[in-house]
Amino acid sequence: MSAPARTASRTGASLETRFRATARSEWVKFRSVRSGPAVLLSTAVVLLAGAWLICHGYRDGWATMSPAGRASFDPVFMSLRAIEGAQLFVGALGVITVTGEYTSGLIRGTFIATPQRAQVIALKAVIFAAVVWAWCTLLSFAAFFLGQAALSSPAKHVAIGAPGVLTAVFGGGLYLTAVGLLGLFTGVLLRRTTGALAALFGILLVLPEALGLLPGTLSQHLAEFLPDNGGEEIFHLLHGGLHGGEYTLGPWPGFAVDAAWVAAAAAAAFVLVRRRDA
């Protein structure tokens, strides 16, 4: 009943120790997501094979392209375009990182061990983002170099030192990380794999496609404020008029749209995870 003992039992472990413990347990769980390595490997295959196939396709067909088509050809975007396919894998990984824990019931153990739920979700997101960002940035560079090698003359190609290129190639990794985080927070919000995947892919892929079917400029302006179309601008080299007026925001404002979606999902996830039952 001595005073120091009482304070110790009330405050528990120090903040630093608690963070380190949570980080370690979140790392073990992320590492042991059963489909994790397969998904990350599929991401690599899609990105690299896609870069090679698409750039080779353009190189072979370069002679048949119209002058306008050649002028609006974006060599950086085309070498990174397979991101549109790879985002399915990264987004799904983000979802199952969380929903796997909910469906197996492990989440109850997690929240009993660490009642600071916001801390659990925050560290989960940080660890996920760090791994995915490192891997996807590496792949983004690899896809860029592979694509530029395939786009030999006379097809248009660029060097990594050209203005704006480095931003775009780094942007590929950033975009995929943002998609993964959007999936992760959607998983926290919906707690079920199927529902979360449907919601994520609905926002990411179906909504832009649906708006694209509608004629008129209003739907085009709206489409630019979706995470997919906005975020993709960061790995475009050409913006605005050269691209048929489709992408007008520019790399960083476009990515900011994407980041705002992720931030909104994160805010909702942090509020709800503390209020709801596991």
Partner: protein
């Protein structure tokens, strides 16, 4: 042995089960119960209907509004049925996912272990699932396509735009093609689900096959390699069934597309049957 026990038509030393007809009927009714008690069999069709009919009508009424300001080239290129049915680019995703969920939900809940124990003839299970899903998807797609056709063409007619009726030349074939495409998509989804055994993998694959693959490949320059490969991707074969074919079309002809799509369904079905028989639950 077979002389003394004429009942034993199966392999020697194993008692014969019930006759095949009864077994098939039992498998069918078991699959039917599972199909109609799945919550996603209510939610997904309802979402599909609302989304498809809404989008199909929205696209048509949008054209009515923008028609006075449209250029002569836009007006010349306008095809009422293409515009009316282009929601299919997205609608097909609902059917693919629906097919996948029929089987992946069973894996997700662990029910598949009981199913396989009750009916060790795994091929029969897949056949029963395929038959019932075909029927279900045919009915659902017929309802959705009819509703979109009636509302969309009605909106176009009301706006005094070019429109078609079911009696128009080539119209019944393309409407039927759309119904077949959606049904085939649900079967492809089912077979992907059997091979994937997980809802996440199956849904991702369905979206990849029907949406992303086309987005990535369609706009590449149409070189010789392109002309011999890309039109035979499932989504492009399906689109060839309902789109009009203008002179510059790079799509396969409807007859080739129908055969190609059937070939995809058949090959994936065979792969699904093999993987169901060879692998653990």
């Amino acid at each position: 042995m077979s002389e003394t026990l004429p009942v034993t038509t199966a392999s020697p030393g194993r008692p014969a089960g019930p006759p095949a007809r009864l077994r098939a009927r039992a498998a069918l009714s078991a699959e039917w119960i599972k199909l109609r008690s799945l919550r996603s069999m209510l939610v997904t069709p309802a979402l599909a209907a609302v989304f498809c009919i809404g989008l199909g009508s929205a696209v048509c009424s949008n054209y009515v509004h923008s028609w006075p300001a449209a250029s002569a080239a836009t007006k010349a290129a306008f095809d009422p049925l293409d515009t009316n049915l282009n929601f299919l680019v997205i609608g097909v995703l609902f059917f693919g996912v629906l097919g996948a969920l029929v089987v992946t939900n069973e894996y997700g809940h662990g029910l598949i272990a009981a199913t396989l124990a009750a009916t060790p003839q795994r091929g029969l299970i897949l056949a029963a699932k395929t038959a019932l899903l075909t029927l279900f998807a045919l009915v659902l797609s017929t309802v959705i396509i009819s509703a979109v056709f009636l509302s969309g063409e009605g909106i176009l007619a009301g706006g005094h735009l070019p429109h078609v009726t079911l009696a128009g030349p080539g119209v019944p074939g393309r409407v039927l093609g759309a119904i077949c495409y959606l049904t085939a998509a649900s079967l492809i989804g089912l077979f992907i689900g059997v091979i994937a055994r997980s809802g996440a993998v199956a849904m991702t694959s369905v979206l990849g096959v029907f949406l992303v693959l086309g987005t990535l490949l369609d706009n590449l320059p149409h070189s010789d390699v392109w002309r011999h490969t890309v039109p035979y991707v499932p989504s492009n074969l399906g689109d060839a069934l309902w789109l009009s074919h203008p002179g510059t079309s790079s799509l396969a002809s409807p007859a080739v597309a129908a055969a190609g799509l059937a070939a995809w369904v058949f090959v994936l079905g065979a792969a699904a049957a093999c993987s169901l028989r060879l692998r653990d639950a």
